[in-house]
């Protein structure tokens, strides 16, 4: 079919040229965007993980600290990080982990001994003896104690015991979290170590500025 320079064809050719020009002009931008998206993906994931730390500041829930640490652990895919970016990404991750561990250190009470008798809660408490000589079995419902003073004494003991439970549970959860975060730091360093070594002074400096304990810093330094 012969080609006519009618309006439609002129428009088609013009449109094709515009597309070609836009295509040519956009290619570097597209390549840059793709490169940037690969390069910045880890940083974006790290930033996303660190939102958990922000949530923790208001919630004070260890679950938020745990989510932050796990998010950092899963924020990267090592083979997709450009070799030139590996050191920077590792520094970002250690900065994040350092902030989490700093919070763990702040919450820790090194003087607390969960095995000492004064810190040991009871599963069941024994109610005091009532003035009548009657004494209910352990774990009794306070409402079953007829004497008000004895009941109040029993409830006070239960409240005190519940505080011990709370404190012990917090301690245990914190210890478990501590172990997990340290494990996640170790795995992160190991994954990066297969690709790039060195940078120890900078990483140690990051940990020093994070304000974590010297003992913990030494442990992490040994992993680097």
């Amino acid at each position: 079919m012969p080609f006519f320079w009618n309006k439609a064809n002129i428009f088609r050719v013009a449109r094709g040229s515009i597309v070609a020009v836009i295509c040519w002009a956009a290619l570097p931008l597209l390549a840059l965007a793709q490169s940037a998206s690969t390069s910045d993906q880890t940083e974006a994931h790290i930033a996303n993980a660190m939102l958990g730390l922000q949530r923790f500041q208001s919630s004070h829930s260890l679950d938020d600290l745990r989510a932050t640490s796990r998010g950092l652990l899963s924020s990267f895919i090592v083979p997709r990080i450009k070799p030139g970016d590996l050191i920077a990404r590792r520094r970002s991750l250690i900065t994040g982990f350092g902030e989490v561990l700093h919070q763990v250190d702040l919450l820790s009470d090194p003087t607390f001994d969960p095995n000492s008798p004064e810190n040991t809660p009871q599963i069941c408490l024994t109610p005091p003896q009532e003035p009548s000589g009657r004494q209910l079995a352990s774990c009794a419902d306070p409402n079953d104690i007829s004497d008000p003073a004895t009941r109040a004494q029993y409830i006070a003991a239960i409240d005190k015991n519940n505080l011990k439970i709370q404190r012990r549970n917090q301690y245990t959860s914190l210890r478990a979290l501590d172990d997990e975060v340290m494990s996640e730091v170790q795995i992160t360093l190991r994954l990066f170590h297969a690709k790039t070594t060195g940078d120890t002074p900078a990483l140690d400096n990051i940990l020093r500025h994070a304000g974590i304990s010297d003992v913990r810093r030494a442990k992490i330094d040994a992993m680097i």
Binding site: I123, C124, I165, Q166, N169, T172, E184
Partner: protein, 503 residues
């Protein structure tokens, strides 16, 4: 006014559509994914890679080189295996089977095995240094003869002249006798496209040059039969690490699962809990967290019985569910064959022990109390931070103890988290006082007070609780003044007239 508004909108729409369309046209690839294997090495992982990455195979080194060149010339991002040895670099099909031993990196390809000294060897996908494989994540095989030869610099396998013709940078070439020619006819695959020929992974299928050792005690252990074809164990060029089993000569003892579609993504597993000290164990407690890492894989899934914090990343955290069972986590990646790890998840059992020998008792009263400690067991997994609670229950009383009610309420406190393991006992979950109570009046009466207490565990203090058992807690008194108490296996006794004592 209305007309002007419509006219002003239209050109903008056309421009945006043209921009979107042209960008799509720029990025679209007419070959699409047709040349990319759906799974295994070389399969794609990101949308940007879809149209560009191809896995390159070949039935000989020359053919592979030609295919790589053809792929590059066609504008593809080629994916193949590069082994960098001390003396130079060799390229392999993505389906080459690569394993490591104590001292060697072994590449099984073209029907023979190329051996490199592990300490001076690096393995990559393509020539890109960012695609280095963690050799430790490759399948581990047991080849003591090769390891010994590498440590003593003994000469094994193909003579040096033949070795150099087969593999320019290998330390040894061992295995099935093929010189430099193509693989056996039955293994030559049909062409798929100019740069991708179905590789030689079929060498590891049973029947011809591979068979299961009859004396093997390990499952799926493949041994190559050196007596096949035109060489023998004693004098053959390639058979120095063979061994005689049942009168047959074999080469190579490979670990289960090595056959297939190339190097495994590999999974390194590490429990979050540092006790038990074996942090790579795959038997774990309910609720236990395990960190999983893969240097090559990045897409994770779990079948059941637990959860992952995410499905993408070089590392993820697996958390066991709250019930006993099995759970398999799988990782896949763009440059490796998927790998899995299966966890066996166990629930706790409860150990109840007397905490001390003391008895709570007032002289002249039919009361008795004992104190016990509870532990989660077994100690082979971690139950730290798992919660324990007794459930509220109504007990029944008779005789003497009915003075406080024929039915009595047992109302324990809040759930308790388990502490660190006490060796020989388990994970302490709490201390308990079991006390009968007492009444005024005649103390020498028959009587009993019994609570059947549900004992539960839960992953969190407010989470769903699961029953471990129902433990009987019983107190009895007799007209003779004998008093007994028991809670599970913890028991104690005294008499009404015994002196006052406490726990």
């Amino acid at each position: 006014m209305e007309r002007r508004r419509r006219l002003s909108v239209r050109p903008r729409f056309i421009f945006i559509a043209a921009l979107v369309g042209s960008l799509a046209a720029c990025t679209a690839n007419p070959h699409s994914t047709a040349h990319v294997p759906a799974t295994g090495p070389g399969s794609v992982s990101t949308l940007s890679e879809v149209a560009q990455v191809v896995a390159v195979g070949g039935d000989s080194a020359d053919e592979l080189a030609a295919n790589i060149n053809a792929g590059v010339a066609a504008g593809k991002s080629v994916r193949y295996v590069t082994v960098k040895a001390a003396t130079g670099t060799d390229n392999y099909s993505v389906y080459a089977q690569i394993a490591h031993s104590k001292s060697a990196v072994l590449v099984h390809v073209y029907g023979r095995t190329h051996v490199y000294r592990r300490s001076t060897t690096k393995v990559f996908y393509s020539a890109d240094p960012s695609h280095e494989l963690d050799i430790a994540s490759l399948p581990l095989i047991n080849v003591p003869t090769i390891d010994k030869a590498l440590s003593t610099n003994a000469s094994i396998g193909a003579s040096s002249t033949v070795r150099l013709s087969l593999c320019a940078h290998c330390d040894y070439v061992v295995g099935y006798l093929y010189q430099s020619g193509p693989v056996k006819a039955q293994f030559v695959a049909s062409l798929k496209d100019p740069w991708q020929i179905n590789p030689d992974y079929s060498f590891w299928k049973s029947g011809s040059d591979v068979k299961l050792a009859s004396s093997s005690t390990r499952s799926a252990q493949f041994l190559g039969d050196c007596s096949y074809g035109d060489y023998n164990c004693g004098g053959g060029d390639y058979c120095p690490f063979g061994t005689y089993i049942d009168g047959n000569c074999y080469y190579g003892i490979y670990s289960p699962g090595i056959g297939g579609s190339g190097p495994s993504c590999g999974i390194n597993s590490q429990t979050a809990a540092t006790f038990p000290t074996n942090v790579t164990r795959t038997t774990i407690g309910v609720g236990e967290a395990v960190n999983l890492a893969s240097s090559a894989g990045s897409t994770w899934s779990v079948n059941s019985g637990g959860s992952l914090n995410t499905t993408s990343g070089s590392a993820v955290t697996f958390t066991a569910g709250d019930l006993a069972g099995g759970s398999t986590v799988t990782v896949s990646g763009s440059g490796c064959a998927s790998a899995s790890i299966t966890f066996s998840i166990i629930t706790p059992t409860l150990l109840i022990q007397r905490a001390n020998s003391g008895i709570e008792h007032k002289v002249g009263s039919a009361d008795i109390g004992i104190q016990q400690q509870y532990f989660f067991q077994p100690e082979t997994v971690s139950f730290v931070n798992l919660f324990f609670e007794e459930e509220e229950v109504i007990g029944s009383a008779t005789g003497y103890y009915a003075c406080n009610g024929a039915t009595q309420t047992h109302m324990p406190g809040a759930p308790l988290a388990a502490l660190a393991d006490v060796p020989g006992h388990g994970y302490p979950v709490g201390t308990d006082a079991a006390y009968s109570g007492s009444c005024f009046g005649n103390q020498f009466l028959d009587g009993s007070l019994t609570f059947n207490i549900p004992m539960d565990y839960a992953l969190t203090s407010t989470g769903v609780s699961h029953r471990m058992n129902i433990t009987a807690n019983t107190f009895t008194s007799t007209v003779a003044g004998a008093l007994n108490a028991s809670k599970g296996a913890s028991t104690g006794s005294t008499t009404v007239n015994s002196p006052t004592s406490s726990f």
